[in-house]
C-alpha cells in the first residue's frame, strides 16, 4: 500500500472485512472447540484479545531491534509468556471457566492469528496502530466466536449464557454441542458470510461498470 493504513482503519478492517475466522480462516481450533456455550466463547475471546493486544504492543515497542532470522523466536517467546500469564490468571480467578476451557488456553500460543498480526502489522507499525489492529482483530474474533456459540448453544440447549431463550418444550439438538455440530455450524456460517461478500462485490462491480 502506498500509504500505511491509519489506526482507525486497522481497527475497522479487523472486525468484518479482514475477520480472522471468516475471511482469513485463522484460529479455527479454538473457534470449534470452545463455542459450546456463549460464556466459554466470550472468555476465550477475552483471553485472545488480551494476549494479542499485549503481544502487539511489546512487538511494536521493540520493532527496531528485531532482525530477520530471530524474529519468529522472539514473537513466540512473547506470546508464550503472555499466554502463561493469562492461563494462571484464569486458574486463579475463574477456576471453573479454566477447567472448561482446559487445554485450549495454552493452544493460543500456536493460534495463527497472533503470530500473523505480529509479523504483518506490529513489527512494522507504531504502537498506536499496532494496538488498534490488535483490538480490531480481537473484536472480529470475538464476533465470530459469539455468532457460532450463540447458534450452537441456543439450538443445542435452548439456553443463551445460561438463560432460557427457547421454550422448555424445545427438543435439544444435542448434536450441536458435539463435534459434528461445531463443524457444521462453522461451515454454514462461513458459507453465509461468503455469500454476503459475493453479493456485495457483485453489486460493487455492477456500480462500477
Amino acid at each position: 500500500m502506498p500509504v500505511a493504513p491509519t489506526a482507525a482503519e486497522r481497527f475497522i478492517q479487523g472486525i468484518l472485512p479482514e475477520n480472522p475466522v471468516y475471511r482469513q480462516l485463522l484460529g479455527l481450533c479454538p473457534t470449534l472447540a470452545v463455542t459450546n456455550g456463549l460464556k466459554a466463547a466470550m472468555t476465550m475471546a477475552g483471553a485472545v484479545a488480551f494476549v494479542l493486544f499485549c503481544a502487539n504492543i511489546v512487538t511494536s515497542v521493540i520493532r527496531h531491534l528485531l532482525k530477520p532470522h530471530l524474529r519468529i523466536v522472539i514473537f513466540t517467546l512473547i506470546i508464550a509468556t503472555f499466554v502463561t500469564i493469562t492461563d494462571r490468571f484464569l486458574a486463579a480467578y475463574m477456576y471453573d471457566m479454566s477447567k472448561t476451557l482446559g487445554p485450549y488456553i495454552p493452544l493460543i500460543i500456536v493460534n495463527c492469528i497472533i503470530i500473523c498480526r505480529c509479523e504483518v502489522c506490529a513489527s512494522r507499525q507504531s504502537i498506536v496502530t499496532a494496538g488498534a489492529d490488535a483490538l480490531g482483530q480481537a473484536g472480529g474474533f470475538g464476533l465470530a466466536l459469539a455468532s457460532i456459540a450463540a447458534v450452537r448453544e441456543i439450538l443445542g440447549t435452548g439456553l443463551l449464557f445460561g438463560v432460557q431463550i427457547l421454550p422448555a418444550t424445545w427438543p435439544n439438538w444435542v448434536v450441536m454441542i458435539l463435534p459434528p455440530g461445531a463443524f457444521m455450524t462453522l461451515g454454514l456460517l462461513l458459507g453465509a458470510v461468503n455469500w454476503i461478500e459475493l453479493r456485495r462485490s457483485e453489486r460493487a462491480d455492477k456500480k462500477r461498470g
Binding site: 480462516l25 479455527l28 513466540t76 502463561t84 500456536v110 463435534p179 461451515g187
Partner: protein, 243 residues
C-alpha cells in the same frame, strides 16, 4: 499384561475414539488447507506423526526431569543454593508452555535439517510441510496431554512413563493422518461436483468434516468395552460385587 492393555487402549483412544482432529479440534488448519490431494495429505500426516513423536519424547523428558515439582535435575541444581527441603519443592511448571513451544520449534528445525541432508527423496515428498508444523495445534496439544498426565495426577505412581507418552503422541499423529487422508479422498471426488459458490473450499470441507465427526462418534465406548475384554480379572472382581 496390565501395561499392554493400557498401551492398546491409549493407542486406540488417540487414533480413533478421541481423534485429534474430529473430537479435540486440533490441527484444523492443515486439515482444511492440505487435504486437497491424497498424496499431499499422506505426506502431511507422516510429517506430523514424525514430529509429534519427537516432540512428545522431548517434552516428556523435560517435564519429568526438569519441570515437574520435585524433579531430579532441578532438585540437584537447587541443592547447591538452598537447603534440601526447599530444593525438593522447586516447581518449574510455570515455564512449561514456553519450554514446550521452543522444544517443538527446535525439533521441527532439526528434523528438517536431518531429512534434507540424509533423505533428499523423502524431503521432496514431505519436507515442504515441516515448517508449517510448528504452528500445528496437534503437537502442542499432545505435549499438554502428557503434561497433565505427569503433573496433574494426584498419585505420583500414576504418572505416565515414556511408553505411554510416546504411544499417545504417535497414535495421535496416526489418527490425524487417517482423518486428513479420508478428507482428501472425499475432496478429490468433490472436485467433480457442482458446489454452490459460497461453500467452495473451506465451507464444504467443514460440512464434510461434520459428517466424518459423526461417523467417528460411533467409536465411543469401544475402549470401555475393550477394557472389559482385555482386563477381565480386574473387572470381574468389581462385577461380582455388582451382581
Amino acid at each position: 499384561m496390565h501395561y499392554l492393555t493400557d498401551i492398546i487402549l491409549i493407542a486406540l483412544g488417540a487414533a480413533l475414539i478421541n481423534n485429534f482432529v474430529l473430537y479435540y479440534f486440533v490441527g484444523i488448519c492443515p486439515f482444511i488447507g492440505v487435504s486437497r490431494r491424497i498424496d499431499m495429505a499422506l505426506g502431511m500426516g507422516f510429517a506430523v506423526t514424525f514430529v509429534i513423536s519427537i516432540a512428545a519424547l522431548l517434552s516428556w523428558t523435560i517435564t519429568t526431569f526438569i519441570l515437574a515439582p520435585g524433579a531430579p535435575v532441578s532438585k540437584w541444581v537447587a541443592g547447591f543454593f538452598v537447603s534440601p527441603e526447599a530444593a525438593a519443592q522447586v516447581d518449574l511448571t510455570i515455564l512449561s508452555y514456553v519450554v514446550y513451544i521452543f522444544a517443538i520449534a527446535s525439533s521441527v528445525q532439526f528434523v528438517e535439517m536431518y531429512v534434507r541432508k540424509f533423505y533428499p527423496s523423502l524431503y521432496r515428498s514431505f519436507g515442504v510441510f515441516l515448517p508449517l508444523i510448528t504452528t500445528n495445534c496437534a503437537i502442542l496439544f499432545a505435549c499438554l496431554i502428557i503434561f497433565s498426565r505427569i503433573v496433574g495426577v494426584d498419585n505420583p505412581a500414576d504418572a505416565w512413563d515414556i511408553g505411554r507418552a510416546l504411544t499417545l503422541a504417535a497414535f495421535g499423529g496416526v489418527g490425524f493422518t487417517i482423518a486428513i487422508t479420508i478428507m482428501a479422498g472425499i475432496r478429490e471426488e468433490l472436485e467433480l461436483c457442482d458446489i454452490p459458490k459460497p461453500l467452495r473450499g473451506a465451507g464444504i470441507t467443514l460440512i464434510v468434516a461434520s459428517v466424518l465427526a459423526m461417523a467417528f462418534m460411533g467409536f465411543t465406548g469401544v475402549d470401555s468395552g475393550l477394557r472389559k475384554v482385555l482386563a477381565p480379572a480386574a473387572v470381574e472382581s468389581a462385577q461380582s460385587a455388582e451382581k
